[in-house]
Amino acid sequence: MSIPSTFPQRLMAAPVGVLTRAESEALVSRALKFSRADAARVSVNSSRETNLRFADNQISTSGATTNTTIRVQSVFGKKKASVVTNDRTDEGLRRAVEHSEAMAKLAPEDPEYLGELGAQQYNRVTTWYDSTAELTADARAKAALTALAPARAGKELTVAGYIVCSASAQAIGSSAGLFAYQRSTSANYTLTARTNDGTGSGWAGVDHNDWTQLDHEAVAQHAIDKARRSRNPVAVEPGRYTVIFEPQATADLVSSLGGALQARAADEGRSAFSRPGGTKVGEKIMDERITLVSDPADPLIPASPFDGEGLPISRQTWIENGVLKQLAYTRFWANKQNRTPTGNASSLRMLGGTDTLASMIASTTRGVLVTRLFYLRPVDARTLVYTGLTRDGTFLIENGKIARSIKNFRFNDSPLFMLNNLEGIGASVRTAGGDGGPGVAMPTIKVRDFNFTSLSDAV
């Protein structure tokens, strides 16, 4: 890597936004130049995040934050340590490098350290849109008005919402010749409408890399409609129900599978995918209509084509037609087990089916329609049983129709059980519940025997 003798002054001037590839590479090179370690890795994250919140029918807080952090990992043999700084001056970088080296020398060995990656080939993925990066405060305020204006005009609703946009660049370079760079934007809008009598609440959201793709009016309409329809909920006995999960609700519970797919935990005998003497890879563990993949190049939810070490990430199929195809391997565990590293099971997409929400409701004699889930926590790592609650629009379905709004339920159930009990599956859509985090694409699904364990009075 070429190392410029002096770094352009303008990059250290205020205000600095998102660094270009050349600027990032220069910064990485400048830090590596100071390294005296056996190996070093420098990661640069530059970002500008803008946001606007509103609640109680008025704008509350809003702001903009710009920052660039530099993470230096220094390694001597198998001793390693990292320092993160946001001081981009030569002096600041030298201090970060020297400090990480001093700590690394004192640290015990990490026998799992495999050395730094050399130069890699990455797929091109488009995750950047100028429309998002250049968004103005005026545009955000105008977007908020699409919900604030109708709520104030009608006198029967109170809205609370959040608009968050980020523009960022991640760069990773190593002393072994690696350089990876990806810049991304994300735009996310979520809205909760509540009726002023306190009995109804509706939520809707939208998420895209491109701000111009967000339909704020549609979100307002959807949330307000749900708030009105969810008014005056009645109590229905908890128990096992046929449940239709809208895409956000599916995402809330199925996303928990991602973290559980680690090969190491399964091999160590402490995961839901362990079995006496091995793992469940190759076994049919859920309904054959379920296929779950991660693919950075997926145009619906594009993501960075490399992970935090600079490892290229390609499409991975975790579950195919209900069969557990493979688990997620880190570099170390893949090396030890003679496998290929996969990256984490993030940016999950469940492939869709041909059912529609309307057809799934029409085919239901008695069931529950769920908008989204809240406060999910694991209760048993071996079964992936989670607890949590329904929220912001829960309805009883009777004889093929939405009959009435019902009180929220607490559940204790597992995505593994749920996806075994599949009755229907719709088209996969990008969900918005992650507040601009990694994209998740899930369908509306219908399952039988879902376990609601108690009622909640919360609206």
Partner: protein
């Protein structure tokens, strides 16, 4: 715009160079005096346990607002006013984190984070604007002030009501430091790793314990604050947390049991606190508790009297009482994220909602020594006060900031109290906007000297629960489900063995009204977390809850095991 005053940055606060000198020095001995330990550590006697090294005192450097930082803060405030702000405040801080993580015999991660920057918050015609920058130069903070004003102005098109702030006295030259005696950032990394790896080795002596993860996390912040009322405040605080989890696995690999990782409560204390926790001596016991859980009896569902240890109860207080008494939540400000509150609207619940028996008193404070939310001045520049959230079982007050206190003028007037902020404004770093965050919210002990063992002896059919585990609560804080790391069956006033698959499901007002016995002052302990999430974008608040072990009658217990 593009002028970079290179020489300013390194002079701000303690410089990174000073830090490096201290951080990498080979301190052969620990900087702790026995007398300091005795005065400040709840586990002082444990610090003398085998395996700890001799003690030596290093004085902490003085806390003051240095001239360069003060100048930058004044520039930010001046710029905000110049561009049109009616009120502004500024925070320039240095935020540091140190983390050492291990598993079994090896270190998995050593990370030191050190960032500095400036956040400017403004009011323009009653609209908020905020901007944060890492450019610690006059043009840098000036540009941030300008953008904060521009954002506030843009928001006026959607304005409905103006924000007004409760008056607060100015503190023109204030400093404060939290209750630590040894700065953990002066302890060499190998010493930290050594404590963890020795603890892991002790836990792994238990045959069925196959995996151990442990870690140390430290936070240190030098927080400088100034506002247009004339306050200039510098504060220095340290927070420490040591975690350890033991995973036991049955011989046939069908059962897994975990004790931890929250086996030691985090505290606003330093390295002396880590030593006091003595994880090396305790690790084997924690491992044995995990192993015993493998063969524990699965609980029978039904109603039990629960005796909740402070390490478990603190989280129930946090979720079911502390969150719903945040005034912004009650007013709908968190409706799109964490939710609203069953303790609302204020005019229908203040002085009217009975949350528990007359023996129940809950105090919001940022003053308890060593508790995580304790601070000298909040991020509105307010000196916090202690206040009764629940008084003799009745709901009495909300957590407030300067923006929120005026909303309750009528209530304070009715009670002959001044209308003032309780000092609950907080931002997790310079990069984040301040808003209402939880102070320490603590359940007061009972009048009698009742102990954990006394509560057990007084209970015929019950379950004693220790340590936080799975926890979930709805968006208005009515329906909650809490587990525990360790559950012990009580029969006839005695513990008869461990239970597994235990969780209690409760409706908040019913649960707190079932409280019938409180431990005494000597049984009062803190539980806490670094990671209380709130807001969009999400921010972490560190908060502690003091409480005694407490008994609740006839609570619904469910079985979370596989058969359920």
């Amino acid at each position: 715009m593009a002028i970079f005053v290179r020489s300013l940055s390194p002079r701000i606060m303690t410089t990174r160079r000073d830090f490096l000198k201290r951080g990498s020095a080979t301190l052969g001995a620990l900087a702790v005096g026995p007398s300091l330990l005795a005065a400040n550590s709840p586990h002082a006697e444990l610090a003398k346990a085998p395996g700890t090294v001799p003690l030596r005192v290093h004085a902490l450097p003085p806390v003051y607002t240095d001239a360069a930082t003060r100048e930058l803060m004044m520039e930010a405030l001046d710029a905000a006013k110049r561009y049109g702000a009616s009120w502004a405040d500024v925070r320039i801080s240095r935020n540091r984190n140190n983390s050492v993580q291990t598993r079994e015999q090896q270190v998995t991660d050593v990370v030191d984070t050190d960032t500095m920057g400036c956040g400017v918050r403004v009011l323009v015609e009653g609209c908020w604007g905020f901007c944060a920058t890492q450019e610690l130069t006059k043009p840098g903070v000036g540009a941030a002030a300008q953008e904060a004003v521009a954002i506030a102005k843009a928001n006026r098109v959607a304005q409905d009501r103006r924000v007004t702030l409760a008056p607060a006295p100015a503190h023109p030259n204030a400093t404060w430091r939290s209750a630590y005696t040894v700065d953990p950032f002066t302890i060499p990394i190998e010493q930290k790793a050594d404590v963890l790896l020795r603890a892991n080795a002790e836990a792994l002596k238990v045959p069925s314990v196959r995996f151990v993860n442990s870690g140390l996390s430290f936070i240190k912040e030098e927080r400088n604050y100034a506002n247009t009322d004339g306050s200039v405040i510098t504060q220095d605080y340290v927070r420490s947390w040591v975690t350890l989890s033991c995973t036991a696995i049955s011989a046939d690999r069908t059962q897994t049991a975990v004790r931890g990782p929250e086996v030691v409560q985090p505290a606003a204390r330093g390295w002396e606190y880590v030593l006091g926790a003595d994880i090396v001596t305790n690790a084997q016991k924690w491992g044995e508790e995990a192993a015993e859980k493998l063969t524990a009896r699965s609980v029978d569902v039904g109603r039990y009297d629960l005796i909740l240890h402070p390490s478990q109860l603190f989280l129930t207080i946090h979720e079911s009482l502390a969150h719903p008494t945040e005034l912004d939540r009650a007013m709908g400000y968190e409706a799109n994220y964490a939710g609203t509150s069953f303790i609302a609207p204020p005019e229908k619940v203040l002085g009217q909602l009975k949350l528990g028996p007359p023996m129940m008193n809950l105090i919001g404070n940022r003053s308890e020594v060593g508790a995580l939310a304790t601070i000298g001045y909040d991020d509105d520049g307010v000196q916090p006060n202690d206040f009764h959230i629940v008084k003799d079982g009745m709901f009495n007050d909300y957590q407030t900031t300067r923006e929120q206190a005026p909303w309750l003028d009528w209530w304070y007037k009715k009670n002959g109290q001044p209308s003032r902020s309780h000092g609950c404004s907080y931002a997790q770093s310079w990069a984040d906007v301040a808003f209402q965050r939880m102070p320490n919210v603590s359940l007061q002990p009972g009048d009698k000297d009742v102990s954990w063992n006394d509560l057990i002896a007084a209970t015929d059919k019950g379950i004693a629960m220790i340590g936080r585990s799975s926890y979930s609560i709805d968006q208005q804080r009515y329906n909650a489900q809490f587990g525990a790391q360790l559950c012990y069956e009580i029969k006839g006033g005695k513990i008869v063995g461990q239970l597994k698959d235990v969780a209690y499901q409760m409706r908040t007002p019913d649960f707190w009204n079932s409280l019938d016995m409180l431990g005494g002052q000597s049984s009062y302990e803190f539980g806490g977390t670094f990671n209380d999430g709130k807001g969009q974008p999400g921010q972490s608040n560190a908060v502690s809850h003091g409480c005694p072990p407490t008994r609740f009658r006839n609570v619904n217990v469910i079985n979370t095991g596989r058969a359920s």
